[in-house]
Symmetry: C2
Subunit: 203 residues, 2 copies
DNA sequence: TTGCCGGTGGCACTGGGTGTCACCTACGGT
DNA sequence: ACCGTAGGTGACACCCAGTGCCACCGGCAA
């Protein structure tokens, strides 16, 4: 459409379309609610056909998640590269903080995305499927480090409860508005790793 | 259909129909997979119409969960009745164990149900919506006990991570076949409450 | 008998998701 | 310049979950 467009290779055009879909979906879902928006409306807003929408996003809910697969891969890489002498829980904690260390420019979109995911029931449900991938990666890391099978108690429990901590940190970050995402993660992980010390303080 | 049926009041007939739907759904989903079974097939197997199915279960996934609302209510009651001098985490732990103390006769159906929920992606996603109710109840209890708002870090974190522990215990119970559900819950909660002590043991 | 009422089934409709095909465009080979 | 191919796209038809509406049928009270 413009001078820039002319020089675009196919991959670039694809990426640009993907971004348009994502932005259209986030805006429409935020304005009208996830259920109230039709895929036809998202497709129209993104300037593509309904059929093409499903070639980019396998599900209506997928449109909200963007490049989440890349996050899981990055998390996996960080865990694999963690220092061998670092305590297991600390390595998981550090990887979660690092993978969620967004540039300031990305924070508004992240807020929009997470608000939708934590607010809209259908998206909250769908999130479980995405988080299951994260859990597998974390459980595999814990299992490797402790020398047990990945489907035993401790790896699974560490994976699910650290993810619960991360999700809680996101909720806190969304609701507060003041606190940093990193600070929220820090608080949540400290509570978890120490067995909820603040519950033992005088009421 | 039989002599017993003649004496049934409306409420009894409704309960009997509900049970037939649940059993038909569990069996069909187990045999052919959740996605592969149509609601028409479940309705036919239960001897009702498709439209009536939706009067008993608001969702295809709901057919698997049975009387789960009652469990949440019971959990809430147990937490409210917990001794005031009992540590908060211990009261949550005890309530989870008690609400999951099934009669031996109910265990096969529970196994079938939980296997589906933890195995089928659509049901796993849906479970997040059911568990959100549990989390609210637990968070409210922790908040009441600690004198903070229910939507702050500690209540939310305790709720999500204890539920993560319970879910992990269910996974363990399903996969193992030997271990008791109560024993699995015990192991998971002990790990969680002590900050994952087994991670500090020699490799 | 009449009128009401709760549960049921049938029907039509919306909307998410998939399979299929025809088209078009960019590219490499001749 | 021509042709063939391959990948992205749009249009269409289809399946199925879920909803609204109405007609029916049973029991029950006046």
């Amino acid at each position: 459409m413009e001078a820039v467009t002319e020089t675009m290779v196919a991959a670039d055009a694809r990426e640009e379309t993907r971004a348009r879909i994502e932005q259209a979906a986030l805006d429409l879902f935020t304005a009208q609610g996830f259920e109230a928006v039709t895929i036809d409306e998202v497709a129209d807003a993104a300037g593509i056909s309904r059929r093409t929408f499903f070639r980019y996003c396998s599900t209506k809910a997928d449109a909200v998640w963007g490049q989440f697969d890349g996050h899981v891969v990055r998390l996996e890489g960080m865990l694999a590269a963690a220092a061998a002498d670092q305590p297991v829980l600390a390595s998981v904690y550090a990887a979660y903080v690092e993978v969620n260390d967004y540039a300031a420019a990305d924070l508004p979109m992240l807020r929009q995305r997470m608000r939708l995911i934590l607010t809209e029931p259908a998206l909250l449900a769908h999130s479980q499927l995405r988080y299951a991938d994260v859990d597998r990666v974390v459980a595999a890391h814990v299992a490797r480090r402790t020398g047990v099978a990945p489907d035993t108690l401790v790896p699974r429990l560490v994976a699910t409860s650290t993810r619960a901590a991360a999700t809680t940190a996101f909720e806190l970050w969304l609701a507060d508005g003041e606190i940093t995402l990193g600070a929220a993660l820090h608080q949540a992980f400290d509570e978890l790793a120490a067995g909820f010390p603040s519950l033992r303080l005088p009421g």
